[in-house]
Each structure stands twice: as structure tokens, then as C-alpha cells.
Symmetry: C3
């Protein structure tokens, strides 16, 4: 096989696989000299996951020629769960699969609103509001980032105002070219937000009538990133 | 609306709501200048819950005229679960309900036995003995407080003797005018005992053929209290 | 009754009972002046559990004449769960049962491979590999102890090499008279391995075509031990 890759710590790949497994089943790991890329759409074609593990994330990385490794994410997660101890040597041969897929080029978007917030806080807001309804309205403006849900038992909203913090992952910052309000299926955001283990902060990108971007660096930006895209709900 | 109330910490109301939710579904929060009162019977009419949140429990409390706010306890619990962080502003509008109910005046009882014990210990005894049977016999005497359960796998009893303690919540004390033995459905006590979060100690009041009182202060007595009453089981 | 036994700490008996309860239902506690012995086979007659609680494990131990106490392990576990606090006095009468059983003399085996390893690591290996298949192949050789599982999603193996450690429970050591490879139903090993609470290290004994021995001291060897035997799977 054309690939030989060695990760210093398996925990990074473990977190990536765990963050994908609610949305993807069988995926191709597309390996090239750049590193490893994974793209997959969820079964309802509403959400897209895009991962880039740069070769600099690996202690050693050699890829003679591009190769696609088809894997079942659940199986990969099971194998990676076994890593952790340096005291034992574990070898696994994972059966690979032939998966038909097309690699999409996702054009770089210029979002009208770009917000950075603590990833743990994004997760808490999504989980809390999920109790109130299925659809979330997100508004980004100079005032802050507002999440709103209306449901049978009433309506709830949470406002995150820009704030400083000692650590980058405590800050809330917004770049607003023009205020945007858009609505999304909340359950996808709850899934995305589980990736909070990857990075202390998360970036949201909002534009009118465009997919929402939810982006996590893989610990640091130079190792790569995990991006989720979610199509907006259009009012009929 | 005639009420404007502001709690320093939502945790107190959160604990009250959580302690009610196994027994009550829809309840009226009766607000007056005294504070907020809640009364409800469980669906089988064996247990009564009575809460008093005194106005002194609130940082600010204004109530122009008495008003009853009908709420679903589950919904209230969901909303209160969202509180906790000072970094974000969360607003919720909870739909109110019209609930028919009658406010009972519960006459002050002079119990033959009044026992004070650590609330965590009361919870552990109830949970442990629940494994052995459905009916618990409680005996209060100068010797101490004795809990007894008989079931298929044998019989068990736990004796708590009066004891001193450095903190009030470590003490076991009894005032016995006359020894009392009574039996109760244990599963209600298990429910009541979950309120241990409210206060480090719990007070039990026992009289022959009278309901058992299980009383928790809301942290301190001046903030109010939560009282449970449970009808005794009469031997046929 | 001919037995009066007093344990300094109930936790030891609690751990023994918990380690038995996946495999045994009703068992005889055979009491003699030596201490207490328990033997039981699992319902499929593939695994045997053998416990010896020496009289030295007890603070006080008096047994005038041999007696067998038939108990349900689940009930015993429920009672022992109630112990723990010194502040209260709990009495339980557990109904005893008449259980027909034969005490087998298990001949001392001279295993071709005897391995000692951290009991927590044995548990982790069993749990991890269980994800991959139902049958485990264990090979003991001078190289180390190798666990291998083959399943639908691929094959996995874990190698534990002999190593030193500061504490005895960190060491891996092997005595190999001749290399042995044998296969076993993995789910039993997962059950046995739950006994890791009993002792920091576990001893495995392997011989060709003989039952596997999995042995835990009860904290220290002089208090007794818990031994599991598992019949090998014979290739047809």
C-alpha cells in the first residue's frame, strides 16, 4: 500500500472518528502527500463533514501515491478505543472497503458573520435548547450571537455577548459584515457540538441562505481541521 | 402580572423543582407578599408536598396582589437546568396553565416523636431497604430511630441511635413524648429522600395513626421549607 | 448454628460476591475451621468458580462443626451493599436455602505457562478485544503473553511482554516450561476479569487441552483466593 503513517498520539484520530460517527457510516480516507482528507454527507444530505489531517499532524508520514482507504467508522472507533497504553503492543488489521464517493471541492466562503466561541459553551447551548424545540434560530450581530428556540412549553433564547478572556478558548468574538439570521435543524448542531474535544474554541460562519459552517481546529490549526456544514431551513 | 421575583441563585429553585417532579405534574405557584407557596398531592392521594419559599429567599421580591402561576414541573425543571453560567444571558417564557386546585390549611401537628437526622443518611437507609421490600416500619423511641423491612429474601433493620456531631447535619437527635411505631409505603420515602440536596438535615415527625412528616429547610429555615406528608398503612 | 464469623471490613466479602454474581446464582458457603469455601459452576458448565476465604481473613472466626449455608448471591450482594457506615447498626436475616451440591477436589495443576500481570490490564485487554469477536486465542511463550481475536471487522492482537515494575501489580512475568496456545470463549474471561477489585495482579495458568486458571488473591494470599477455571474450545 502506498501509505505509511504514524501518529504520536492516537487520541487525535480517536476524537476525529468519534466526532464523525453520528453522521457518517462508511467513509473514504483519502490519503495524499498533503495528509489525509475525509468528506462525507449524512444520510439525509443536510449535513456535510469535511476533515483535513495535515501530514504535519503525524510523527511520520509517507504517501508515495494517492490512495483511498474505505473504512467503517464504527469499526475504526472500536480499534482506536484500544489504544492508550504504552505498555502493550496492539496490532489490528481492519478490513478495508470499496466505497464509491466523489470528492467535492468546497469553495472558500466569505461569511457575513464569523463568530468564535468556547466549544464547551456551544455544546451546552445546543444541548439545553434542544429540550425546547427542534428548530434553532441563530442571529449574529454586533450585539452578539443569539440562539433562539420556540416550542410547546414556551420559548427560550440565549445571548452570547462578545467578551475577552485570558485564554483564547474563553473568549467570544464576532466579525460582522452584515447581521444574519438563519434557522437550522437543532439536532445536527447537537451532533456537531460533540466535537468540542477537538479544540477549546469553535468557529461559526453565517451568511444569508448559505450553509452554516461549524469549524474546529484539530488541537491547533497547523494539524488540520474538522468542518461541519449544515443547510439552512427555508421558511415555506 | 403582579409578581416580580429575582433569585440570587437559581440553584435553590432548581432543587425544589427536582424534589417535586416525581410526585407532582402540574402545580400552582401561589404568590403573595409572604413569598411563594406550592401544594400538591401525588396522583394516588397518599402523599402531599408543601413548599414555602419565603420572600426573604429572594434577592428582590415584589408581589402587588396574590397571583397563582400554573406550571408544569417538568418544563420548569428543563428551564432551570439551563441556568448556572454567569457568562450568558438566557431568557425563557414558560407557558402558564390554568390549574384547578384548592389550598389546604395543614394544621400544625404536635408529633409524639420528632427526629432530626442527616438527610444523606435518611436517603441511604431508604434506598438500601427498598431492596428488601415495599413496606417500611419506623419506630421512634428513646433508644433511637429504627427502620425495618421484611421481604422475600429475609428481613433487615437499621437502627440510628442519638448521637452528637460537630456539624448539625451529622447529629441524630430525638424528642420522644411517647414511642411510636408506624408503617409506610417505602417507595414514597425514597422519593422524598431525594430532597436531601435542599438541606444537610431532615426532620421526621411521627404520631400514631397520623401522616408522617418529612421536612427539609430550604438551606436555612428563614428561606422556607419543603414538607412531605405520607399517610400510614393501616393493617387490615 | 455452628458458625460465628466477624469480618473487620465487609468490603472483601462484598467484592467476592460481586465477582461471583455473573456466573453463579445459588451457592453453598461451606464453613469449616479452615474458613469458608465456595464452589460453583456456571449454568453452561464451562466455567468453575472456587473461592477460599481463610479464617485468617476474619477478625473473629469460630466454627464448631462444618456447616453449609445456602445463599442466593444476588440477595447477599444486596445486603452487603448496605454495609459501609460505622454510624449505624444494621441487622439482616437472610433466608438460607438447601442447595444440593458436591464439593469437588480440584487437583493442583502444574501449568506449562504461568503468567502474572496487572489485573486492570487483563480486564482492559478482555474488554477491548470483546469488540472484535467471541473467541480469544491466548499464547504464552518466552516472548510474552499474546491475546488474539479474529472477527468480521478484522483481526486484533495484543502482546504483553515481560516487564519489571516498582509495585508487584505493575509487573508482567512469565514462567514458561513449554509454549502453549489455546482458545477460549471470550465472554467468560470478561466476567472473570471483573474480579480485578480483589487484587492488583492476576495469575493465569495455561496447559495444552486443560482448563485455563485465572486466579486472584483476596487482597493478600494469606486471606485466601478466588479462582476461575475455563474449559478450552476444541477445534472441530
Amino acid at each position: 500500500m502506498g501509505l505509511e503513517a504514524h501518529l504520536q498520539h492516537a487520541s487525535l484520530l480517536k476524537k476525529v472518528a468519534e466526532s464523525m460517527k453520528d453522521l457518517c457510516k462508511d467513509v473514504n480516507f483519502d490519503c495524499s502527500e498533503k495528509g489525509i482528507e475525509v468528506q462525507c454527507m449524512d444520510s439525509s444530505h443536510v449535513a456535510l463533514v469535511s476533515v483535513l489531517l495535515r501530514e504535519s499532524a503525524f510523527a511520520e508520514f509517507k504517501c508515495d501515491r494517492p490512495v483511498s482507504l474505505g473504512m467503517n467508522i464504527d469499526s475504526l472507533t472500536k480499534i482506536l478505543k484500544m489504544t492508550g497504553s504504552d505498555d502493550r503492543i496492539a496490532d489490528f488489521d481492519l478490513k478495508l472497503m470499496q466505497i464509491e464517493s466523489e470528492h467535492m471541492e468546497i469553495p472558500e466562503q466569505h461569511y457575513k458573520v464569523v463568530a468564535k466561541l468556547p466549544s464547551s459553551e456551544f455544546q451546552k447551548v445546543c444541548r439545553d435548547l434542544k429540550e425546547f424545540g427542534e428548530t434553532i434560530q441563530i442571529t449574529g450581530s454586533k450585539e452578539g450571537l443569539k440562539f433562539m428556540v420556540q416550542g410547546d412549553l414556551g420559548s427560550g433564547n440565549v445571548m452570547l455577548k462578545p467578551r475577552e478572556g485570558e485564554k483564547p478558548e474563553e473568549k467570544v468574538s464576532l466579525t460582522v459584515h452584515e447581521p444574519v439570521t438563519a434557522t437550522f435543524a437543532l439536532r445536527y448542531l447537537v451532533n456537531f457540538a460533540k466535537a468540542e474535544k477537538l479544540c477549546g474554541s469553535v468557529e461559526l460562519g453565517l451568511s444569508p441562505d448559505a450553509p452554516l459552517l461549524v469549524k474546529y481546529d484539530l488541537e491547533t490549526a497547523d494539524k488540520g481541521h474538522m468542518q461541519f456544514y449544515l443547510a439552512p431551513k427555508i421558511d415555506e
